[in-house]
Amino acid sequence: MTTVDPQLVAQPALPARRRSGAFRRLLRRPLGVSALAALLAIVALGLLEPVLSIHDPNFADLAFANAAPGTPDWPLGGDRFGRDIWARSLAAINVSVISGLIGAGTGLVLGTVFGLISGYIGRRVDGVLSWTFNLLMTFPALVLVIVLYPVTGGTYQSMMFIFGVFLAPGIFRLVRNLVVGVRSELYVDAARVSGLSDPRILSRHVLYIIRGPIIISAAFLASAAVGVQAGLAFLGLGSNQVPSFGSMTSDAFINIYSQPVQLVWPSLFLSLLIGSLVLLGNAYRDVLAAPQGASSSSSRRRRPGEKAAAVDARMDRDDTSTPTLSAPTLSTTSPATPAGGLLRVRELRVEYPQPDDTLRAVVDGVSFDVAQGEIVGLVGESGSGKTQTAFSILGLLPPQARISANELSIAGENVIDSHRTALRKLRGSVIAYIPQEPMANLDPSFTVGSQLVEGLTSRMSRKEATATILELLARVGIPDPMRTFKSYPHEISGGMAQRALIAGAVAGRPKLLIADEPTTALDVTVQAEILDLLRDLQSEYGMGVLLVTHNFGVVADLCDRVLVMRNGVVVESGAVREIFRNPQHEYTQKLISSILDEDTVRTDLPVTAKDEG
C-alpha cells in the first residue's frame, strides 16, 4: 500500500478555502444544471396547468377525435375520444409528480427512520428490524400492489403509498449499513468520549454522512414511483377520470398503426421526467464522489504513512525546516561501480501528469547502484519517493507514471528504453518483490499454494512447481508447509503470510530482491524473525537486496549501505556505519537525531495537578 496514489499526487496543494456546498458544485456541472432545469420546467408546466390548459383534461369532443397536432386550441392534437392531449399531458405531469413524492417519500421516511434506529442501537432491535425489512423485500411488490387495489379504493395515491412501503427496504439497508459503518469510526468514538449525547452524535456525525446517499436515492426512488404509476395506469388500474401518462400511452397504443404520433407525447414527457430525475441523482452522486468531497472516504482508507499532505509551507511546522531541492548531493552518487554491479540507476525520474497538463516529479534524478550480494537500504519519510523508486525498478508503477533515466541496468542489461516489456521478462526470475502488507498482497479467493505456484508454471511443470514451493515454504520456517499451501490467506497469520510471500519471491532464484517495508505491518517479535530469514536467504542465494524502509533499526540490522531520500532526491548515501556515526547532510542529521535514544529513560517525576480553578 505504499505507492503514492497518482490521484493524490495529482492534487495541487489546496489553498485554505471554505468547502463549497455540494449543491453549488452540482450547479457547476453541465449535466447537473440541465437535469435540474428540465425537472423544474416540467414541474412548472404542471403547476401552471390552470393557466396553460384550454380544456378540461377529461373534456371530450368526438369532432376532434384523433385530431392532428397543431389543430387550433388542440396544440398536441386529440386522442381517440377527442380529448385534448395537451391538457391531459399537463394534468398527467401533476399526477406523476404527486406519485413520485408519495412513493419516494413513504420509502424514504420508513427506510431512514428505521435504518437509523437499527444501525445506531444495534443488537436485538437491529435483528428484529433487519428481519422485518428483509421479509418485506421478498414480497412480490407489484403483485401485492395489484392485490390490494380493491382495498385501497383504487386511487393512485394509495397505490403509490403501498408501493412506497415496498421501496423502504432498500433505503433501510442503505441507511443501516452506513450508520453501522459510521458508528465504528474513531471520530464517533471521540465524540462519545467528548461527552456528546446520542441524539447529538446522530445529528452531527451520522446524518451528515448519510445525507448524500439519501438524496441520491430519493431521485431514483421518485423515478421508480413515477414509472410504476405509469405502468399501473397502462395496465388499466386506477380511475379513468385521472389523466396519467400510463393511460394516455394505453389509449395511444391502440392507435399505434394509424396514429403513432399520439404515443410521442406521453413518452416524451415521461422520459423527460424520469430522465431528469435519474440524471440529477447521477450528477449529485458524481459531485459527492469528487475528490474535494468533504466525506472523501477513499482518502481516509489510504495508509496514513504515505499521505502526500497538502498544506502550505507556512503551517508545516512538523516537516523539515526549509526545502532544499537544489541541495548538493553529498557523498558522490556514482562511486566506482563494482564490476559485478547488479543494479545501476542513473538520473531516474518518475513523473505524474497533473490536471493542468504539467508534470510533477515524485522521483527527481536518482542515481545509485546495488552490487551482487549487497543489501542497500533506501530510507526516507512519507512522500520521499522511496517506494516510487522501488516500483519503477520493478516496472510496477501505474500506467499514468512517466519514467525516464539515463540508465537503468539490471544484471548488465540496460532496460530503460523498453522498460515495461523488458522488466516483465526479468520479473520473477531476475528481480523479485516482497511487499509491505502480507494479507493485502495475497489474493483472498485462492489458496496460498496455488497463487505461489502460478508464477513458476511458465518455467516448469505444475508438479515441479508445487514441489519447489512446498520445499521453500519449509525453508522459510513454516512449520506445516502442506497445510499452509492448502490454506486460504485469511486462515493464516500475518507473519506466516509474509513468509509465504518471501517463498514466492525467491522461488525463481532472483538475483535482485526488492523489499518494500517488509516488516512494517508485523509485530516486533515477528519482525525480528523475518529479518533473520531475509539475512539468511540473502547470503544463501547471494542476492542483491534493495530494502525500502523508514525504520533505522531495520537498516542497522540488515543493511551494508544506505541511501537517504527526501522529496524525490537522494540527499546522502554511504556505508551504514558512516551514515549513523557521521551523517553529512542536515536532513540525515535531523532524521538520526529524531531517533528516540534507547539509553535515556524518562526520569522527571510526575507533576501533581494544580488545583483546578
Binding site: L14, A16, R19, E185, L186, Y187, D189, A190, A191, R192, V193, S194, G195, L196, R204, H205, Y208, A294, S299, R300, R302, P304, G305, A309, V311, R314, M315, D316, R317, D318, D319, E381, D523, V524, T525, A528, H550, N551, G553, V554, V555, A556, D557, R577, F580, K590, L591, I592, S594, I595, L596, D597, T600, V601, R602, P606, V607, T608, A609, K610
Partner: protein, 274 residues
C-alpha cells in the same frame, strides 16, 4: 498520593456468537495510575491493550472486575455519568485520519466537547484559538478541514480536542505510530510539555518500546490479555524480569549496527536457550 485510576482484576470477553463463547480479550488485568503520571502500556497486536483503554473510556464493556476513578466505581457508569466524565478523561487515537470527522472544520471539532458540556457555542469558538496555540498550530487553522493537514498536524488537533476540557486523564492509543520519525518526536514532546504544565495523567498505549522509554514513568507489559510485568520504566527496560519482556526488548532493532549485532546474538541465544 492516592491513585487517580485503578483497575482491578478486569476481565472482558467478546459477546458469544451462537453457542460458542466469544474470545476472552482481558484476563484479569490490574493496574493503577497516579495523578500526573504516565503509565506506558506495551504489547503486541491482539494483546488486549487497546481494549483495556476502551474499557476505561466506556467504549467497551468489561465482563467483570472494577475500574475506579477518584474513588468512584465507573466500570459500568451510566450514559449520563459517562457524559459528565468527559471533563475528567479524554482520548487521543492512533489514526489521525479517521479520528477527525472530515466534514467538520477544525473549530467545530475543537468546540464540540465544550458545547457538549454546556458552554455557549460563541464562547466555545472563542476558546478555539487558545487551544490551537497550546498545541502549536496557527490560529487560521480553525477555519480549515482535516484533509488540509498532514498526519502530525491532525494529531495536534486531536490532542487539542483532548485537552479542551482540561481532563485529569488522557488515554493515548498509539498516538504517534502512524507518524513519520521526525514528527513522532515532536508530538511526543508536545504531550510531555502538556503533562508538565497541566499535571494530566496518561495511559499511554503503544507497541514501541523506545516511545515508552521516552514518555513513561512506569511501564506495564501486556501479553495475551494479561499483564506480565509492571514497574518503573528504567527497571522494566533495563532489567526485565519476565521472559516475554526480555524477548520483546531483544526483538526491537536498535539504530546502531554494532549494538544491533550484539542484540541479535543475544536474542538468538535466548531463543536457543528456550
Amino acid at each position: 498520593m492516592s491513585d487517580l485510576l485503578t483497575i482491578e482484576d478486569l476481565h472482558l470477553r467478546y459477546p458469544a456468537r451462537g453457542l460458542r463463547h466469544g474470545p476472552e480479550i482481558l484476563k484479569g488485568v490490574s493496574l493503577s495510575i497516579a495523578p500526573g503520571e504516565t503509565l506506558g502500556l506495551v504489547g503486541e497486536s491482539g494483546s488486549g491493550k487497546t481494549t483495556l483503554g476502551r474499557a476505561v473510556l466506556g467504549l467497551a464493556s468489561p465482563t467483570s472486575g472494577n475500574i475506579t476513578y477518584k474513588g468512584e466505581n465507573i466500570t459500568h457508569a451510566s450514559k449520563k455519568r459517562r457524559r459528565a466524565l468527559a471533563r475528567e478523561m479524554q482520548v487521543v487515537f492512533q489514526d489521525p485520519y479517521t479520528s477527525l470527522n472530515p466534514a467538520l472544520q477544525i473549530s467545530d471539532i475543537l468546540a464540540e466537547p465544550l458545547v457538549a458540556q454546556g458552554m455557549k457555542a460563541a464562547e466555545a469558538r472563542q476558546r478555539v484559538g487558545g487551544l490551537l496555540d497550546r498545541v502549536g498550530l496557527p490560529a487560521n487553522a480553525a477555519e480549515r478541514y482535516p484533509r488540509e493537514f498532514s498526519g502530525g498536524q491532525r494529531q495536534r488537533v486531536a490532542i487539542a480536542r483532548a485537552v479542551a476540557l482540561q481532563p485529569r486523564l488522557i488515554v493515548c492509543d498509539e498516538p504517534v505510530s502512524a507518524l513519520d520519525l521526525s514528527t513522532q518526536a515532536v508530538v511526543l514532546d508536545l504531550l510531555i510539555d502538556l503533562q508538565r504544565s497541566a499535571g494530566v495523567s496518561y495511559l499511554f498505549i503503544t507497541h514501541d518500546l523506545s516511545v515508552v522509554r521516552h514518555v513513561s514513568h512506569r511501564v506495564a507489559v501486556m501479553y495475551r490479555g494479561e499483564l506480565v510485568e509492571t514497574g518503573p520504566v528504567a527497571d522494566v527496560t533495563n532489567t526485565p524480569s519476565h521472559d516475554y519482556t526480555r524477548k520483546l526488548l531483544l526483538a526491537a532493532p536498535t539504530a546502531d549496527p554494532d549494538r544491533q549485532r550484539e542484540r541479535r546474538q543475544a536474542r538468538r541465544a535466548l531463543q536457543t536457550a528456550q
